[in-house]
Amino acid sequence: MMHKISIKVNGDLYVLSVEPWKTLNQVLREDLNLTGTKLGCGTGDCGACTVLVDGRSVTSCLTLAVEMDGKEILTVEGLAPAGEELHPIQRAFVEKGAIQCGYCTPGMELSALYLLKNNPSPSEAEIREALSGNLCRCTGYNKIVEAVQWAAKELKAEKSKSTRSK
């Protein structure tokens, strides 16, 4: 039996019929060709598939697509604000050497975004804790942590700039 759902992904509305067992990860990657979201384990243990659903971070490999009806989803493809090439978090990952093979990167960035939205000035320990559901086999995490620290600063600076100019 197919279920009809309508979801907003990165601001675009999609109306889809999905089988009840299909995961959000499958729908994003296979039906919508949004392959930036990765699949590293399929069991909720690596975080490579992390996306934001209504602003909360979820592992898309364990999330059923049918439960997504009416929800707003943000994937790595939608991270950069319209008209800009990179979100400050992405820029930080690039500049700080936080990316090697890049397979963990989209998930890491979305976990970082979720953290910084809720805690704009996290301590190093808080960053490590917030990323503990995202595994990386290449970098040893240190440069990722540095990137998140740097992005936090950038985002705060941007914010204060925009409030000042208002």
Partner: protein, 764 residues
């Protein structure tokens, strides 16, 4: 020292922004029209004869387009040691027997992955169970079940090294110790599960996109197993989500995808699940290491006798190389005037072990370094002093093994001691805390041509254009370590261009120049780097010629490409822009584009490698005396990697190595029951998370490798070796528990603590 403009700088990798935005295409992201999805049926038994396979029900399932078994495929065995066909022991699908739980038996291609999975369950295989063996000792016993008929004693490869006179050496020793160490299997755990897409052209040629480190090796072995010509197989490496040695062989799904694409005329994709990866994938070799070393009273080494048995699992895989290398690594770091090694690769009914970051070094050096620490204690010499006393230096020669042309080992030891405040911490740490040292040496690519390539070891093609840009084509494979970036930096430096002026095309066997043996053994920077320089030099000669002619320069003028210009070194005004110089050459060649090929093959460098790196690492741990839990607080590393091409990338390699080595030392292991791997998720197979990482401080010791491109050599693979022995020594320093069998688990520590207490009580 030469001044660099691009090399030696913290340049962010050009592919990073593609990866940061989710636009980088990995194999599983590829979708072709009409594509079928493949799945593999694997053996549930560790050792059995296949009596019959009935695929009729699977074939009848709607949506199934193709089912194959070992009976359907050419009977061609493969294996990377092509030079010695007897070592090629694997069929893409099992024909007669299965040899481990997970051995591939049949494959299905269907219109969607769920149908393919359902079809697997409809395949009926009748097995006749055979007695299995699961460890080295039982496999070597008289009358043990034979896993491959060709190796009646279950030993597939042996290797000996001997120089000096070991018996005589020991007779002169004042202190001799003998120890046996055991080390365990761990997973590469690259985040990207293996994936392959195959397409068959109308004329029958194959294109294969695959997550691999070695496109050229895959091309050759795929051609031979398909009974095709090499040039009719094209292998393309998309972005790869990590390899660490685990993606350097032809794999059954690559064969099956290509074979079924031919049969069906439709593209076929296989992507492994994490469960398949952990349950059946290649892993690091478990080994039993017997080592005997002799010293003079003053700490001078006199002899070493090393015997290593490798638990290879059901097939050779990269085991022959690991057997070869662990004996070489046993001879490294220190000056052993007399040395003997015997290594044997033993079959067992477990998933095959293969190449994994360090390739025999983490195991072999765990033994060397732990024994060094034990000896230091008993000789009453500081462990770092003992190492400095015996350390290899530049110019050392090991017969049949190595010529050391650059070596920063002693400086690394001194620097690691200085940074960590070693002397003071060794004496004055809080109870339950400890500090320990471990060292490494590693190769910059292998010399011994076991693949029997007919091409240079590395090749590069450089095309330059009148708009001032260049295009670098190379079969070197970036699997995340950053070789595309490093090679681009080297070319930019040579041609005096900027990173943005250079386009790189890498790892496509139909387009990039023949050949390159791929990414393993830390060969790329040195070998592909040298090929790039060779090509660039040829380009430069042409450009210099054109500029000289234009300005009527005396032939004795030294010329230079720098800052986007080509000019006479002493008369910078006598020159022109890079693009203008290219245009002139092209004019002089009557329109022929300016293209050059460069090559590198190591010659006259012994049998192992053209260059060795060295380093020392100190670990500081705190051990919870109640729970036995180890917290690694800080790690200091000093290492020698020649000229550093990209310091930020080198540091990333170091930190990644610490991560992997931390898992090896403390948390990662396979739980096996009768040949079956039980922990097949990342929940149960524990790789360190962000919170588990220690602080890290590092220093690069200044050396220049004459054989390397601009003086560079290996970085980032050898670094995976020193951490486990350093942590083991620190745990001993903290608790008195000496680990000789990895991993260092809380249970072992607690038992060790109890034993130490008992011993103390007895003594008092």
């Amino acid at each position: 020292m030469r001044e660099f403009s691009v090399v030696g700088k913290d340049i962010p990798r050009p592919d990073a922004w593609l990866k940061a935005t989710g636009k980088a295409v990995y194999t599983d992201d590829i979708k072709l029209p009409g594509m079928l999805y493949g799945k593999l049926l694997r053996s549930p038994l560790p050792h059995a004869r296949i009596v019959n396979i009935d695929v009729s029900k699977a074939q009848a399932l709607p949506g199934v387009k193709c089912v194959i078994t070992g009976q359907d495929i050419p009977k061609v065995k493969y294996g990377n040691w092509r030079l010695f066909p007897a070592t090629q022991d694997e069929y893409a699908l099992a024909i007669d027997k299965v040899r481990f739980v997970g051995d591939e038996v049949a494959a299905v291609a269907a219109i969607d992955p769920d149908i393919a999975a359902e079809a697997l369950q409809l395949i009926e295989v009748e097995y006749e169970e055979l007695p299995p063996v699961f460890d080295i000792e039982s496999a070597l016993k008289e009358g043990a079940p034979v896993i491959h008929e060709e190796s009646p004693n279950n030993v597939s490869v042996t290797r000996k090294i001997e120089y000096g006179d070991v018996e005589e050496g020991f007779s002169k020793a004042d202190y001799v110790r003998e120890d046996t160490f055991t080390v365990h299997a761990v997973s590469h755990a690259y985040l990207e599960p293996c994936s392959t897409v195959a397409q068959c052209d109308l004329d029958g040629r194959i294109t294969l996109w695959t997550s691999t480190q070695t496109p050229y090796i895959i091309q050759c072995l795929l051609a031979s197993t398909l009974e095709m010509r090499e040039n009719d197989v094209r292998v393309i490496k998309p972005y790869v989500g990590g390899g660490f040695g685990g993606k350097m062989e032809l794999r059954p799904w690559e064969f099956c995808a290509a074979f079924m694409a031919k049969l069906t005329g439709r593209p076929v994709k296989f992507t492994l699940t994490r469960e398949e990866e952990l349950a059946t994938g290649r892993r690091r070799h478990p080994m039993v290491i017997y080592s005997k070393v002799g010293f003079k009273k003053d700490g001078t080494l006199v002899a070493k006798d090393l015997k290593i048995s490798l638990d290879g699992g059901g097939y050779n895989s990269m085991g022959p190389t690991a057997t070869f290398l662990c004996g070489n690594f046993g001879a490294m770091l220190y000056r052993y005037p007399n040395y003997r090694f015997f290594g044997q690769h033993v079959y067992t009914n477990k998933p095959p072990a293969g190449a994994m970051r360090g390739f025999g070094a983490p195991q072999s050096l765990f033994a060397t370094e732990t024994q060094m620490n034990m000896a230091a204690e008993e000789l009453g010499i500081d462990p770092i002093e003992l190492r400095i006393k015996n350390a290899m230096v530049e110019g050392d020669v090991i017969p049949d093994v190595a010529t050391i042309s650059s070596c920063g080992f002693i400086d690394s030891l001194k620097e690691a001691a200085r940074m960590s405040n070693w002397k003071k911490k060794r004496k004055s740490l809080a109870p339950g805390e400890g500090i320990g040292v471990g060292c490494y040496s590693f190769i910059s690519g292998g010399v011994f041509n076991w693949f029997n390539t007919q091409y240079p070891f590395s090749a590069a093609e450089v095309r330059v254009f009148s708009d001032g840009t260049a295009h670098l084509l190379t079969m070197a494979s970036d699997i995340g370590q950053g070789s595309d970036t490093a090679l681009k930096q080297i070319l930019a430096e040579e041609l005096g261009l900027e990173m943005k002026d250079i386009r790189v095309t890498s790892a496509d066997t139909a387009v990039t120049p023949q050949a390159d043996l791929g990414t393993w053994g830390s060969r790329v920077t040195l070998m592909a780097g040298n090929a790039v320089i060779d090509a660039a030099k040829k380009i430069k000669e042409k450009l210099f010629g054109a500029v000289s002619a234009r300005f009527n320069l005396n032939v004795i003028y030294d010329m230079e490409c720098k800052g986007g210009r080509v000019y006479a070194k002493g008369r910078p005004d006598r020159g022109m822009s890079f693009g203008e110089a290219v245009a002139m050459v092209q004019k002089a060649q009557r329109g022929e584009p300016l293209v050059a090929r460069g090559y590198y093959t190591p010659r006259g460098k012994g049998l192992v490698t053209p260059a060795f790196s060295f380093g020392a690492q100190v670990a500081h741990v705190a051990v919870d005396q109640e729970t036995g839990k180890v917290e690694v607080k800080k790690i200091w590393t000093a290492h020698d990697c020649g000229t550093v091409i990209n310091p930020m990338a080198a540091e990333g390699q170091l930190e990644g190595s610490i991560h992997m080595a931390l898992g090896y030392a403390l948390s990662e292991q396979f739980v096996m029951d009768k040949g079956k791997t039980l922990n097949t998720t990342f929940l149960d197979y524990k790789i360190p998370a962000a919170m588990d990482m220690p602080q890290s401080k590092s220093a690069i010791v200044d050396t220049y490798e004459p054989e390397g491109p601009m003086g560079a050599k290996e970085v980032g693979e050898g670094l995976v070796s020193p951490t486990a022995p350093a942590i083991a020594e620190a745990v001993y320093h903290a608790t008195g528990y000496r680990c000789k069998d990895l991993p260092i688990t809380p249970e072992k520590i607690l038992k060790g603590l109890r034993d130490t207490k008992k011993r103390k009580r007895k003594r008092s």
